[in-house]
């Protein structure tokens, strides 16, 4: 499986966020997307997930299911945790695994994998930000998808939860998974590729953010 982009461009509100972006990630590899605020890291991930229109260029997935879009074969973990405060931890996860199309059998092990099994019956309203994020990551464990699109996944996690996330990412890679992660700091995982979104214009004025992505091995 290979996810590749050629000459990808993104426009938001009439402004060009990035253009001429090319990358290629194979199964078992990690693409770390870095760059300043507003460089288009989240936009790139949303574009791969199919939540943003592609303004130019091509995005291809080779070796995937031809019947499905890239977004339908991916997990998108954004800034928002997609949890309902009125539902319990288990109900939230059971809903997403039901919606994303798996049986409820692995809810328990998934909660254990993110360390929330003791809080299974607590309404999500009482979770802390880090616990909410962990529950959201539980979705990635419960439902198998070959592509993970992670937007600052570790932002609210404590050290041990970050380590656990790295372990989960390693497991995913070992199972021929593919990860695109937007990040500021170190992920704790050696990224196979790094895509820097703001090489040419380090600190552009507002409205001039013409990021040209550069890819490093």
């Amino acid at each position: 499986m290979r996810l590749s982009a050629s000459d990808l461009a993104c426009r938001r509100g009439g402004r060009e966020v990035f253009a001429g972006l090319s990358f290629s990630v194979e199964a078992g590899e990690v693409l770390a997307v870095t760059g300043r605020n507003g460089a288009g890291k989240s936009s790139l991930l949303r574009m791969v997930a199919g939540l943003l229109r592609i303004a130019g260029g091509r995005l291809q997935l080779a070796g995937g299911d031809p019947q499905l879009t890239i977004g339908e074969q991916a997990h998108y973990l954004g800034h928002l945790d997609a949890l309902k405060p009125a539902l319990t931890v288990t109900e939230n996860l059971r809903f997403w695994s039901g919606f994303l199309g798996t049986s409820a059998a692995n809810i328990g092990p998934s909660l254990e994998a993110v360390g929330l099994h003791r809080l299974a019956h607590l309404p999500a309203a009482y979770l802390s930000a880090g616990q909410r994020r962990r529950l959201s990551i539980g979705r990635l464990v419960a439902v198998k998808r070959p592509i993970w699109l992670l937007d600052e996944p570790a932002s609210t996690l404590d050290a041990s939860a970050q380590q656990r996330l790295v372990d989960l990412m390693r497991e995913h890679l070992a199972g021929a998974g593919l990860i695109v992660v937007a990040t500021h700091g170190a992920t704790g995982l050696t990224a196979t590729h790094e895509l820097q979104l703001d090489q040419t214009v380090p600190y552009p004025l507002a409205g001039e953010g013409q990021g040209r992505g550069t890819l490093r091995k």
């Binding site: 938001r12 949303r46 997930a49 199919g50 939540l51 943003l52 229109r53 499905l68 879009t69 977004g71 339908e72 991916a74 998108y76 954004g78 800034h79 928002l80 945790d81 997609a82 949890l83 309902k84 009125a86 539902l87 109900e91 809903f95 997403w96 039901g98 919606f99 994303l100 199309g101 409820a104």
Partner: protein
């Protein structure tokens, strides 16, 4: 569980929990209908004549009440992103949400309507006609409302816009719903004529609503 069933069950569950919309709608309905006799005074003949119209208007407003949260709640917590990228057809998901919303907000109204009809001096045949028209007509209100809720999804305070968008579209439903109920109270038109048109309006909105709402949601992806 299929994706569509999962959405349906989740929405129903949230609606009946604390903070859900199910109880609010029926309480609002109760308050509005109770206020009318106070405003009009004890003219029983007048109340009887305008009773169906009052109940229909109150039901219309009450069913709009929770509608603005239908998609915007999912938008705010990021669920909508995942729903949009999911494998389930968006039209079916939207229809399932609409059905769950109708069951949780409109069915309680239909159950409460005969009780409130007593306050407005409606007799048994009129009560029956009213319940029938509400049962048939409220799905149309919900599914027309779906379109407005989908259009207003990204707006912070979309509730007002929703009302402005949706209320004009509900005029035919209101007209024929009240006409059918009134046919029993005052005559002279037969009940069946407006009632059949009401059925047709509901079927049309069931068919169009999910597609229009899904199209609106896709447009607002950006």
């Amino acid at each position: 569980m299929t994706p569509v069933a999962a959405i349906f069950v989740r929405d129903l569950r949230i609606a009946v929990r604390v903070g859900g919309g199910a109880l609010m709608g029926v309480l609002f309905f109760l308050v509005v209908v109770t206020l009318i006799p106070f405003a009009l005074g004890p003219d029983l003949a007048l109340l009887k004549r305008i009773g169906p119209a009052i109940l229909w208007l109150a039901a219309l407003l009450a069913s709009l009440l929770a509608l603005d949260r239908l998609f915007s709640a999912d938008h705010e917590d990021g669920s909508l992103d995942l729903i949009l990228t999911g494998r389930a057809p968006l039209e079916l998901v939207v229809a399932a949400k609409g059905l769950a919303h109708w069951l949780s907000t409109s069915v309680p109204l239909i159950v409460a309507a005969p009780l409130l009809g007593l306050l407005l001096n409606l007799d048994a045949p009129a009560e029956l006609a009213l319940v029938l028209t509400l049962l048939v007509g409220t799905p149309a209100l919900t599914f027309i409302g779906l379109i407005g809720a989908a259009i207003a999804v990204t707006l912070r305070r979309g509730g007002l816009l929703l009302a402005v968008l949706v209320l004009p579209l509900t005029v035919p439903v209101l007209t024929f719903g009240v006409a059918a109920a009134n046919a029993v109270v005052t005559g002279p038109t037969p009940f069946a004529t407006p009632f059949t048109i009401l059925c047709a309006l509901t079927l049309a909105s069931l068919a169009i609503g999910p597609f229009a709402a899904a199209a609106a949601l896709r447009q607002e992806m950006e």
